[in-house]
Symmetry: C2
DNA sequence: GGCCAAGATGAGCAGCGCTTAACTTCATTA
DNA sequence: TAATGAAGTTAAGCGCTGCTCATCTTGGCC
């Protein structure tokens, strides 16, 4: 492979018209230019200069080579600049996963902060439950993901790095018509209620089951959904009560959200990523998330 | 400047999927590949691989870089091939000058021979008198030139290299009607003739003057031309006699060409070029010319 | 549990490419 | 004609680079 350094020097020589001028321009000694050009001639197997007293004259081969080398040298420099931009996080793409509620709440604010930090970055968003996102982070399809884990339902994040973002207390959703509870409610007092529960098999459903088991009852379930808006609607229609994390609470005149009495049970929200911080945008994104 | 060797290795790694496979493919040791990629990462300032047990996974930056580098690397290789072709004389251009008669006689045969030697070569032809061509060879506008020099009119070729191609005897052109001379003629016997001479100031005219001066007379000139066909026409019309080199003789029933008696006076035909054999096509062309 | 494969790391060594310095060759100028 | 200076070349020296070889680490696999 022809040496780009020598080709750059060749172009400088052809442009400047002499070894000495090219040396000045490139911050070399004339000797270095002379040796580089001699080496390039050896590599090409063709004379690149006619040696005249006090000057050199580029041959047709040298002029052609200088011309041919211009494009690739510029392209390499452009590639270097683009990669440097990626290194600084000015360009590049970050693939982010998030559980549905986070996508609507935490993420937009974090992404706004990221945009301020790295205006050129592209972000690809994937919504899904932690069980779906974690494998994608592990195998590299995602750079990071927002996931949750109930205190009572441990999840497996393998070797991924977890950064805790927040701990959400769980709330009980009651129809607004219910006046029999005030500032808080004990779960055991809900043993005779009908529950609006998460879908069977989900971490939320397992969490509810374990909470109730700790309170010595099995919840009677009337409806199931993983969509907190749906759950609120059902509760507001007095079709049951629900236990949801704080992010699942929204202003709704038909629904009251009441803290649980006793030891606080929570859902933690984590961001997970591979230990290798391979994407330069990962650090700013983590910073943005922590700042929310 | 990013190192093309490392970029080539990067592409091999991204293609092959592992350092070891790339090493095998490129005839390196795995250690060399590992060190090259570490150096490239240092140069880029961005992780190019996620290190997993027993494998590496190229990051988005690595894939982008491999993609970006493909073009320039291929272009550099293509440039190298083209220059190698020029070095072998398979392509490239040779700029040849020749005096007018040579252009019609010696050159075509030499160029046919050159075409056999280097089929891909391009030849640029310039016709002109030696006084015009020699400076063009000296300053590089021509690679070589066919020139002549009369024995009696020395020419200045500066530092150019001269290769003698042939020595042309001079001939006297007489109207065919002239029966008073047979196998040869002494110049002194032509002292009362009218001459068809080369243009004043040309080497041919100087040659005629000096020849005649040596024979103790000044030629009476009726017509002047540097075109041998014109001169033959004038002689054939019995408007004078002429002295021309052998290349100026052509079959013509109205004209007889007779050798000069006495010490042979000649015109030498040389090829001249700069001492630096900078054009790879120069050597084959010289060979072709010598072969004519 | 032992083995193997992939990659990382350190030592060592050869070669490359720079600078410095001295030399050659001309052109310019006194 | 001699001195000066500029351009290029060449030799010496040295530090850095980049390879190989050897060794180590890690984790999958029989």
């Amino acid at each position: 492979m022809l040496d780009p350094t020598q080709l750059t020097t060749l172009r400088a020589v052809v442009d400047a018209g002499s070894f000495a001028a090219a040396a000045t321009q490139l911050q070399y000694t004339p000797s270095a230019v002379s040796q580089q050009m001699a080496a390039l001639e050896r590599a090409c197997g063709v004379p690149l200069f006619e040696r005249l007293p006090h000057q050199v004259r580029p041959t047709a081969a040298a002029q052609r080579l200088a011309e041919l080398a211009g494009g690739p040298l510029a392209d390499l420099a452009a590639a270097e600049r683009e990669i440097a931009g990626m290194a600084r996080g000015e360009e590049g793409r970050l693939r982010v996963g998030a559980f549905p509620t986070a996508g609507a709440t935490i993420l937009p604010r974090a992404l706004a902060a990221l945009r301020r930090l790295t205006p050129g970055a592209e972000v690809e968003l994937v919504e899904g439950e932690p069980e779906l996102l974690v494998p994608q982070v592990q195998d590299g399809r995602l750079d990071l993901a927002l996931v949750y884990e109930y205190d009572l339902v441990s999840a497996d994040f393998g070797t991924l790095v977890r950064v805790a973002l927040r701990h959400e207390p769980l709330r009980v959703l009651l129809p607004a018509s219910r006046r029999d509870v005030s500032v808080s409610v004990r779960l055991a007092d809900l043993r005779d209620e009908t529950f609006v529960a998460p879908l069977e098999g989900s971490a939320g459903a397992a969490n509810l089951d374990r909470m109730c088991a700790a309170a010595r009852f099995r919840p009677r379930v009337s409806f199931r959904s993983n969509d907190y808006a749906v759950m609120r609607g059902l509760v507001g229609a007095a079709l049951g009560v629900a236990v949801v994390p704080e992010l699942g609470v929204a202003p709704d005149r038909a629904v009251r959200a009441v803290p649980l009495a006793g030891r606080p049970l929570r859902r933690r929200v984590d961001v997970v990523h591979r230990p290798t911080a391979a994407n330069p945008l990962l650090a700013p994104m983590l910073a943005a998330l922590r700042g929310v």
